[in-house]
C-alpha cells in the first residue's frame, strides 16, 4: 500500500526542499513574535524534565476547565497559552493558575498559519529539550494506560525505544441526538455528553514528501464531505514531540519538519504505540460558533469552499447513526484499532473486541 522509500538524487532534493521550508517556517515564527504580548509569565517555574503543553485558544472558557484538569492529571507541568482575542471568560481562567503562562494577541489567526507561527515561536524559546504536547482546547489526549501511566511514563517508554514523536488520531465525538441538545453543565467532562464515535471508516494514505500519514474519515467525512471526500478534515496528528528549537510544525500538528518525526507508524507490519485525541468540537455551542466562524473565515485557507460545511453545522445536524459506537475507554479504542499499545505489555489482561 505504501511505496518502499526511494533514494538517490530526488531524495536529496526533497531533503533540501524540506530544510528550506523548515527555515522559512522558523523565520515566519520569528517575525510573528511581535504579535504576542505577554500577559502572565510563570515560565521560571519550568524544570528540565517537565512535560509542557502549548495551546492557542479563542473563547474556550467552556472547555478549558476540563482540558486543564485532564492534562494536569496526565502530568503536564506547565501550559503556555496564546490567547487569540478571547472575549469570554478565557483570560480569567488562565490568569490565576501557577502552572500557566499566557500571551495575548489580537492579530489574525489565519495570517499566523492558524496559530502555528505563534506557537512555533514559543516552542523554540521554551520547548527545547522538553517533551512538548501541542493541543487545541477541544482535544483530549488518551493513550494506552493513561489512567495509570502519566505522560512521563509514556515519554520514558518512547525514549527507551528511540522515538522522539508520538502519533494520535483525532476522533470526532458526538452526542446521541442533535448537536445543539444537552446542557453545558456537563462540561466538567465533555465525554459524558459526547459519548459516540465512528469506529471504522478512516481513510489512510501516505504523503511521500513529509512521510506523514494522511488520515481522513470519521463522522465529519461521513456526514458533511461525502461529495468532496478530499476536503474532509485531516485527522492524523503528532501532538507529542521531544522538541528541538530547529523543529517546526508545518500544518497544524498534522505534520512537522524534519520529516523523520512524522514516521510515527511502523511500516514493517508491526505496530508502534499511538494514542487518540478525543475531539470535543461538537458541544452545543458549536452551532452558534459556526455561524461566527463562517463570517470570520479564519479557519481554512480558502474559507469560501467550506461555507457549506458551516451551513450544515448551523443546521444543527445529527451525527449519531445506527452503527455509531459508544465510548467506553481506551481499551475499547485499542481493541478497535484506533490506537495501539505497540510493544507495551498487556497488563490487566482483558481483551475486548
Amino acid at each position: 500500500m505504501m511505496p518502499d522509500p526511494v533514494g538517490g538524487p530526488s531524495a536529496l532534493w526533497h531533503a533540501y526542499r524540506n530544510r528550506l521550508r523548515r527555515r522559512q517556517l522558523l523565520f515566519r515564527a520569528f517575525l510573528r513574535r511581535k504579535d504576542l504580548t505577554q500577559v502572565t509569565d510563570r515560565t521560571a517555574a519550568i524544570r528540565d524534565s517537565d512535560v509542557l503543553c502549548f495551546v492557542c485558544v479563542r473563547n474556550e472558557a467552556l472547555r478549558l476547565p476540563a482540558f486543564l484538569a485532564h492534562n494536569r492529571r496526565l502530568g503536564v507541568r506547565h501550559f503556555l497559552f496564546v490567547d487569540n482575542a478571547s472575549s469570554d471568560g478565557t483570560a480569567a481562567i488562565l490568569a490565576d493558575a501557577p502552572d500557566i503562562s499566557v500571551w495575548r494577541t489580537e492579530a489574525s489567526y489565519k495570517a499566523s498559519r492558524f496559530g502555528m507561527d505563534w506557537l512555533t515561536w514559543l516552542m523554540a524559546q521554551f520547548g527545547h529539550g522538553h517533551w512538548c504536547l501541542t493541543l487545541d482546547a477541544d482535544e483530549i489526549l488518551v493513550y494506552p494506560y493513561w489512567e495509570t501511566r502519566p505522560l512521563t511514563a509514556l515519554t520514558d517508554w518512547l525514549e527507551q525505544h528511540g522515538r522522539a514523536s508520538f502519533g494520535a488520531l483525532t476522533l470526532d465525538m458526538y452526542p446521541g441526538g442533535a448537536i445543539s441538545q444537552g446542557s453545558p453543565d456537563l462540561i466538567d467532562d465533555p465525554i459524558t455528553h459526547l459519548r459516540w464515535f465512528d469506529s471504522g471508516n478512516y481513510q489512510v494514505q501516505v504523503q511521500p514528501k513529509l512521510r506523514n500519514l494522511w488520515i481522513q474519515g470519521g463522522a465529519r467525512a461521513r456526514a458533511f464531505f461525502a461529495d468532496e471526500p478530499r476536503k474532509a478534515p485531516t485527522l492524523n496528528k503528532t501532538p507529542l514531540v521531544r522538541w528541538h528549537w530547529r523543529y517546526a510544525y508545518v500544518n497544524s500538528t498534522h505534520a512537522l519538519l524534519p520529516p523523520r518525526l512524522n514516521e510515527v507508524y511502523a511500516t514493517d507490519a508491526g505496530e508502534l504505540t499511538s494514542g487518540v485525541l478525543l475531539h470535543t468540537k461538537f458541544l452545543p455551542e458549536i452551532v452558534e460558533r459556526s455561524q461566527e466562524e463562517k463570517l470570520r473565515g479564519e479557519h481554512f485557507a480558502d474559507g469560501a469552499q467550506y461555507a457549506a460545511y458551516y451551513d450544515r453545522l448551523v443546521d444543527d445536524p445529527v451525527l449519531h447513526c445506527a452503527t455509531s459506537t459508544r465510548y467506553t475507554g481506551w481499551r475499547q479504542l485499542e481493541a478497535l484499532g484506533l490506537m495501539s499499545r505497540g510493544g507495551m505489555d498487556m497488563s490487566g489482561g482483558q481483551e475486548w473486541g
Partner: protein, 559 residues
Amino acid sequence: MLCHTALNRAAAVARHWAAAGCPVVIHLDSRVPEAERAGLAAALADLSDVRFSRRVACEWGTFSLVEATILATTQILQEFPAVDRVYLTSGSCLPLRPIAELQAYLAAYPDTDFIESVTTADVGWTVGGLNKERFTLRFPFSWRRHRRLFDGYVVLQRRLGIQRRIPEGLVPHLGSQWWCLTRKTLEAILNHPERRRHDRYFRRVWIPDESYFQSLARKVGAKVESRSLTLSKFDFQGRPHVFYDDHLHLLRRTEAFVARKIWPEAKLLYDTYLDPTTASANRPEPSPGKIDRLFAKAVERRVKGRPGLYMQSRFPTRTRGGNRSAAPYGVFSGFADLFVDFHGWLAKATEARVHGHLFAPDRAHFAASEAIFKGGLSDSANLRDYNPRSFLTNLIWNSRGERQCFQFGPNDAQDIAQFLAGDPNANILIVSGAFSIPLWRSGRPFAEIRAEAARLQKVEAEFIALLQEPETKARVRVWNLADFVEDPVEPLRQIVDELNPRAEQRQEALPQMVDLSGFAQFIQNLRNQGMQPVLMGDFPTELDMAAINTALSRPREAR
C-alpha cells in the same frame, strides 16, 4: 543494592529491608551528584544497618557493574558476620512479598545458590546475537557512546578470526544479574586464588554482570538452583519492562519475591508492597512464567501487528503485508446474474454476510441495503472511491468474526482490482461472460447492448488477466459461462464447502438458474454484429433448463 536514580524510592526500599532485619549495603553510582548522595545518606542516617560502599562510575555493559557489586558484597560480608545470604538488588527493585516469607523460603533451601546460570549454547534470550562471542571477543569500546566503533570492532575481529582464550577451568554461563548467593559461595568467588585472573578476563567480556558470578558460581562448585528470585521481563529489544501501577494484580499473580524494574512514580505499587502491616502467609512458590504469555503477546503486537489493520501507527509497505485484509472473504462475479436469488442462497449456505455490488457505480450495496455499515462505513460512492483500499480493508476489519462476501463485476468501479489480486485473503470466483445475461434480458435496443457487451467484456478480460499474473496472491477460480452452465452443481458445492467448512446443512438445495433458453441465439447475434464474445465460452445451442434445475434442487446425499 545498586542505585543510580530515584533515590527516594531506593531509600524507602532499603528501609523496608532493614526493618525486616536485613542489613543493606548500597552502591551509589559515583556519577550521582553530591547533593543527591547527601540526601540519600540523610534519609537513611537513622539506620545503622544500612551502609554505603566505595563508589565507582557505572556504565551499562561494562565491568564497572561487577566492580560495584564486588565492592558492596565484600563490605557486607565483612561488616555483618551474621549474614549468610546476599541478595543483589537494584534501586528500582521492589520486594513483592514480606521479607519474612523470603527468609523462610531461603531457610527451606539451605546452602542453595539462586542464580540463573545457563551455558552460552543454551541461552535463547540474548538480543543482538552476541552469546558465545561475549566471551571470545574484546570490547574496548562503549556500546552506548561509540556504537559504530563497537559494532565495527566486533565485525573486524570476526573477519580476522581473532579470539580470546577462555581461562582454563572456566565454563562461560549467562543469566540474570539479580542473584541470591550464600556466604560460602561468595567467599569462594571473592577469595579465589585466581581472582585477579578472573577479573582481568571479565574486564573485557561484554555485559560481564550477566556472566561473572554466573560462571564463577559454577566453577567454585556451588549448589546452583538456576533461576532468579527477581522477576524481570524484557521486551523485544532486550530492554527491561517497567512495571506501573496497573501491574499490581499481574505482579501478585507471579508470587515473586522481588520485581524489577518499578517505575519510580508507581505510587500504588510502592505503597502496597512496602506496607509494613502486610502479614506474611504461607503462599505458593514463585511462578514468574504465569505472566509470560502477556509479555509474549506484547512482543507479537509490536513486531507482527494486527494483519489487515491500517491506522495511525501501523501502515505496512507493500512488501510487508501492506496488501492484506484482516480475514478471508469471498468475491463473486457473475453468479448473481446466473441464479435466482443468489444472495439469499449464499447467505444461508455459508452463514456469511452477503453484500451486493459493493463497488457499484451508484453506491455501495451493503447487505440488507443498509446506508451505513458497521463502523460508520458510508454507502457513498464518492467516499468509497476516494480510497477504495481503505474502504475494503475497513469493511473486513470492522466485521471480524463474520465472513464477508460480495458481488463484483465489470460494471463496478475497478480501482480495487489491484488490491483484490494481491490480497491472499481474497477468494475470487468468476463465471466469465455472465455479465451478458442481464443485458440479454434487458430488452434494450440491440445496438446499445452490443456496445455495452463489448465494453464489459473488455473490463472483465482485463480483470482476469490481472488475476493470472504471477504476483497474484488471491485464490482465484474462473469458469466460462458455457462450462459452468453445463455442470453447475459441483462448483457450487465446492464453494459452500470452502466458505463454510463446518456447515451442518450440507444437504441444502442449490439455487435455481435463470432460464437461458434462447441465450445461445443472443450470443450468435453478437457475433453476427461483429463482436467476438470470448469470455462466454462455447455456449451450447440446446440447453435443457428443466434438467439443470432438477439437478440443482436435488438434495445432496449425506456423507
